[in-house]
């Protein structure tokens, strides 16, 4: 049975406190032996076209700009979109296949990259979380072996909002962030307070991330370039060679990327990854 979000009394001060201080996983970022615990960031949604891969790309750029070595897994088989933009650090996997689960989970401790980003294909979030649950990943998270961060990208449809309840059973030990992606001018029922309140105001999250709008033309040019956002901003092509991208478009992307990074910092992503002291 699908769990609905728990209704809580609308108490403004208490709610503000919860929003301003993100709920984080209880286990410390650093293990008892002093090593940083590996982190898994899952970016997903069951609804398609909400911008999951855009968020995953922005995350990889954000980690790279903060000198955090990360690897990525793209579950959009056989042709991964994330893999197209970040081929060097991305592997295409099928999260429901044990062999691919082993490639991810069994290498978390041995991999040089202490952060693994998983871009879950449309419709694959619930099955992916279920698969991770079945192999005992969440037990390992609970025991403090790994850190788990879920970026749930919300779409502007009721079915998308209902996913919030569907994935609730899996996020108890996660740092669960709802991501509102405005990159394509989407609204999230802010114009309908009743609907907005029903789905958003009572759900307990570690924070809410708002991805600002990016000019369509700029977005399309990065698509054509097929390179990370930061590579486009640096006026390089996908091979790292000097390119001739429009300065205006690079400027828009640079500003957008900076705002997205501000959002990630605001919700304490670096702290969760152990890169910044609280």
């Amino acid at each position: 049975m699908v769990k609905k979000p728990v209704k809580v009394t609308r108490a403004a001060p208490a709610k503000r406190e919860r929003e301003s201080r993100p709920r984080t996983a209880e286990a410390p970022v650093v293990a008892s032996n002093g090593a940083i615990r590996p982190a898994v960031i899952v970016v997903g949604a069951d609804k398609g076209g909400v911008g999951k891969t855009t968020i995953a790309r922005a995350i990889l750029d954000f980690l790279s700009l903060n000198d955090i070595h990360a690897r990525a897994f793209d579950t959009e088989t056989p042709r991964g979109t994330l893999h197209r933009f970040h081929p060097d650090e991305t592997m295409i996997v099928d999260l429901t296949e044990p062999a691919d689960q082993m490639k991810i989970i069994d290498t978390l401790n041995s991999s040089q990259a202490k952060v693994s980003v998983i871009d879950v294909r449309a419709g694959g979030l619930s099955p992916a979380l279920q698969a991770l649950d079945e192999i005992g990943f969440f037990d390992a998270v609970k025991s403090g072996e790994f850190r788990f961060i879920l970026l749930h990208v919300i779409g502007s449809s009721i079915s998308s909002l209902e996913e919030i309840a569907e994935i609730a059973p899996y996020v108890a030990d996660a740092n669960y962030f709802m991501v509102k992606n405005h990159v394509n001018d989407t609204t999230f029922f802010e114009w309908d307070p009743q609907t907005h309140a029903k789905y958003f105001e009572d759900v307990v999250t570690s924070g809410e991330i708002t991805i600002p709008k990016l000019s369509e033309l700029a977005y399309e040019q990065v698509e054509l370039c097929g390179a990370p956002f930061s590579t486009f901003v640096a006026n390089q092509d996908a091979q790292g060679q000097p390119a001739e991208h429009s300065f205006v478009l690079r400027g828009y992307v640079r500003t957008w990327l900076a705002r997205v990074a501000d959002e990630f910092e605001r919700v304490g992503l670096l702290e969760l990854l152990g890169e910044k002291r609280r």
């Binding site: 369509e216 033309l217 300065f247 205006v248 400027g251 640079r254 500003t255």
Partner: protein, 237 residues
């Protein structure tokens, strides 16, 4: 020695202050000295500035990203060719918002392009406040004011009004008598050619009056240009 490429934004947040006249005069000043210059008209509905210089200007619509690319990507080319942007009052907010958003000024300096704002004064307090906002946002921005005594007279309080503007320099465009000023409406009249070779059919009185009006304006532009050169000169630092 390579010279900095000057990019002039002739602007005002208000209409009918003489922005197009100033942009036209500056363009003709360079043309009179045989300097290749490029113009940009941001009034895509009625591009009057572009009508005066159809061969060297382009009309850009700043409400569209394509128009912004057409303007800013070109302005960043450090080819030593002065570029003049006639900022339509309805494009004023959009222009400076885009400049801020894409980091134009910072990039321009890196590439050897020197942006200069020529702010058209008027008697309103809001115009001076708009100039102040620009200077507060970009303290290093070179800004001069243009006081067009014909299009936008400041009256008896002109000194007080001008003192509100945070500009480092001032240009004065004298008022022209109405019959003389009418001659300026002719889009085929080239002010740069008028100096050297006045049109044969033009009244001698109009010709003399326009020359007498133009020369002090061009002298002001020249001294401003020299001042900028001196400021950027390595040997004087």
């Amino acid at each position: 020695m390579t010279r900095r490429t000057l990019v002039f934004f002739v602007c005002s947040p208000h209409s009918r202050t003489g922005v197009t006249t100033a942009a036209r005069l500056l363009t003709d000043y360079y043309l009179s000295r045989n300097v290749r210059v490029e113009g940009f008209d941001t009034d895509s509905r009625e591009p009057l500035y572009a009508l005066f210089f159809p061969e060297i200007t382009r009309v850009v619509n700043l409400d569209e990203v394509k128009g912004q690319i057409s303007l800013f990507d070109r302005l960043l080319v450090a080819d030593e060719r002065p570029k003049i942007v006639d900022v339509w009052h309805r494009s004023y907010e959009r222009l400076f918002a885009t400049i801020a958003e894409i980091g134009f000024l910072e990039e321009a300096r890196k590439l050897g392009v020197e942006p200069v704002v020529l702010f058209q004064t008027d008697a309103t307090e809001s115009a001076a406040n708009s100039a102040l906002v620009l200077k507060t946002t970009w303290p290093d921005l070179t800004m001069s004011v243009i006081h067009n005594r014909g299009a936008s007279p400041l009256g008896r309080n002109s000194l007080t009004i001008l003192a509100r503007y945070p500009a480092s320099g001032k240009f004065v465009i004298p008022r022209l008598e109405a019959p003389i000023a009418q001659a300026l409406d002719d889009v085929d009249l080239s002010l740069s050619r008028l100096i050297k070779e006045p049109p044969s059919g033009m009244s001698v009185v109009v010709r003399a009056a326009l020359k007498a009006w133009l020369l002090p304006i061009f002298t002001q532009f020249q001294s401003f240009e020299l001042r900028l050169e001196l400021q950027s000169s390595e040997c004087l630092r």
